[in-house]
Assembly symmetry: C2
Homo-oligomer: 516 residues x 2
Amino acid sequence: MPNSPAMPLAVQVHPADNVAVIVNEGGLPSGAVLPSGVVLTENIPEAHKVALTDIPAGSPVVRYGVTIGTALRHLPRGCWVHEELLATPTAPALDHLPIATAVPAPLPPLEGYTFLGYRNDDGTVGTRNILGITTTVQCVAATVEFAVRRIKAELLPRYANVDDVVAITHNYGCGIAIGAPGAEIPIRTLRNLALNPNLGGAPLVVSLGCEKLQPGQLLPVSTLPILNREPHIVRLQDEQHHSFGDMVAAIMQMAERRLIELNQRQRVVCPASDLVVGLQCGGSDAFSGVTANPAVGYAADLLVRAGATVLFSEVTEVRDAIDLLTARAATPEVAAALIREMAWYDEYLGRGEVDRSANPSPGNKRGGLANIVEKAMGSIAKAGTTAITGVYGPGERVATRGLIFAATPASDFICGTLQLAAAMNMHVFTTGRGTPYGLAMAPVIKVASRTSLANRWSDLIDVNAGTIASGEETIPQVGERIFQLILDVASGRKETWADHWGLHNEFALFNPSPVT
Amino acid sequence: MPNSPAMPLAVQVHPADNVAVIVNEGGLPSGAVLPSGVVLTENIPEAHKVALTDIPAGSPVVRYGVTIGTALRHLPRGCWVHEELLATPTAPALDHLPIATAVPAPLPPLEGYTFLGYRNDDGTVGTRNILGITTTVQCVAATVEFAVRRIKAELLPRYANVDDVVAITHNYGCGIAIGAPGAEIPIRTLRNLALNPNLGGAPLVVSLGCEKLQPGQLLPVSTLPILNREPHIVRLQDEQHHSFGDMVAAIMQMAERRLIELNQRQRVVCPASDLVVGLQCGGSDAFSGVTANPAVGYAADLLVRAGATVLFSEVTEVRDAIDLLTARAATPEVAAALIREMAWYDEYLGRGEVDRSANPSPGNKRGGLANIVEKAMGSIAKAGTTAITGVYGPGERVATRGLIFAATPASDFICGTLQLAAAMNMHVFTTGRGTPYGLAMAPVIKVASRTSLANRWSDLIDVNAGTIASGEETIPQVGERIFQLILDVASGRKETWADHWGLHNEFALFNPSPVT
């Protein structure tokens, strides 16, 4: 288990950086010599930063190619650059941001990459062939779950080409002010979950009858161009149901009609441009921004070059580096949309008397993250280096290609649910501390930031990016592996550990409005 | 199926009422003669109100013994009293309420009523013998559910005296500001769910490791007097777990130790005063306030007379009749606590730019509810007629007897979850439109407001209160039946339909703070 390189080693993420991160377990002593020739002038803990050059007082300290702070005194080459030596930048105000001032040039297109997917009538492609059952309200959840247990036991085995049955249950739909500001977020999330490519269109809906969120509002006629027909609906309060048994029978009958259709579908060769890959990190450590996230970022660039859609998210993790994102926006309109999403979230947090002062946490700082800019940069590393070509609000269905900011909270399961609503058909999740994350509606590839975690959780982690820290692999090498694994898992050729164990977390809606 | 009385019939809820509600299906025609001799002067729809006396312009219209509005013109005996003929009272301001001015005299105590329960070390009594597994964060939910499936399949059959295994999973614990105003609500809810009497103390906790809500905050040392020992904790990120299999094995090992203990417990005779009965309504119709809710109110009075704890809740359903509740408070302190909870909720809704203007809904009005006072009175009818002896905030553990206002939203599943946290060991749920509601942690008795629903959903509804509308039974008769059924179900002698089918809705936390 190569948990730690034998030789002193530090990772420099960007050529312009004047600091690098010590990757040796337990840190390095004063006098240690890095491969670049830099000699440590003091002991530096693991995951903390070393100065690669003399940094004069008042000069920028650069990591990820950006200024993460200003030196408070002269920092000699080889010294420990920790939080107390840096003036923390203030959070960027939203009214003086650079707008599309540093748009990356397009990378050369990648041709010829394909996967085997299920092509849908609306032009999207599924990586799975799932029977989805949408619910309008929590009141029907236990009944639908009862029916789904029976469908899985009695019907699904007869339809071998169908992967799974997923009930989209949630705690919304009634006991809420349906016209409240922000109510459109959970409503469109539920709508767009029903339209996820992996469910193949033609939603089945179970409604109670008297709930506030009616089927016609959940799936209005405006969604018919995406659907290939009107949704099938079972209303439990309808007079024709004369018992609980009747209700369950009606759900099962509706399900079996759909299973017959789904079972006839076949995977076909699709270009990689039909992938919609959602990126997320959770349980991050200081290595996430050095190994797993940059490797995923490399894969993201490959996907964008192949014409795919790549979603990055987590407003609270990017807010403090928003100036870098608005500069990188492909157009002024995209930059304006980024600012709109940040402003909405600032207001939302402010209404709840919450700010980002607890970010980074004491644990983050112990782990080597000096401040919120450095933390945000680690998170943004997942998004690679291409221009940001689109911005969507929470729960909106993404319909454009390239690198997209799909605004979501950072909360892992809310983010995952919103990315599914955004039409995600593949998910990549990086973790440092380790979390046994999984989703029912799309495969989740879990990438570990350290070899020690990948080894200890060998039956949960799909990709080890810790080899980057130990020098065994480069960021492009791990990025290429992730890209290839995405194509293999999307095609059904390889199975993720989450799917192997059936680790599928519940949907978690983002409802910014009060309950009533 | 006696869905409708053969003779013209109207229900007068309180002797002081000058209106009654038509209960004949399809309504009654002009000229119909009620048993009281009142002759209808026009057609009146089902569930709508008829004037029992001449009501002069400007005089109060009285239902439930309270003024629900003022006559806008002279209302002759026998006429249809609908919303357009009433001046709607304004919502009571919170600074000029009557304080303990109409405290009901204590009803005669009821002696000798008992049930068979599981007595806990902390003095509470369980009506079920359930193995509960608490979780700190959603990250562990899928792993715990995987383990619970195996526990139910492999271990539970060997411990026949244990009723069930319940994982307390939720979408809180990380991705939230743990110090935000209001964060104490979901945190104490999770804490007090772990301490619910039906779990018998000694919580088992599954934690990830890096989450914001740590086990020590979830179950601090201050809870040790309630626990009979320190909680058992499995942390998935702990170094000793070398695989997913290790994590599952650790959870199963912890569970089996607890199953052995739980299996040795025996039901013993307990006074009815050990019951903590939560009351709720959902999917209400105009008959809810005429049949099911008053019958449950009668049962509530019996329970209070027997020394039990009765919880009523749903702030948004009582807010517009708060003056009646503060008058009925046993002490000025109880009245002040009622006002505190109303003010908190007013502020919470206002922050989200939501008010109660959508209440009652158009459907409520079509169903005969003239205004918010009338709707609130129907809801409050569940709480019977005794003095209000205590008030608790959302998620607080109730430790006093008598009629308690446990503040919760009206949302069915959030209310049920919060009542479980309040130490509820029995639940009574009234419904008019019908909802297949159930909880895993306490038995739910479902009471239908109409015979037609009770017949149509005969394998979901436990008690038919529709016989009150048809004149087959009185409110006290149905109330006595409900009281007796509570004792039978609490004792394990009778099974509810929800438990028969295993209809157990997920927990739904009340988190008034933003996610991050």
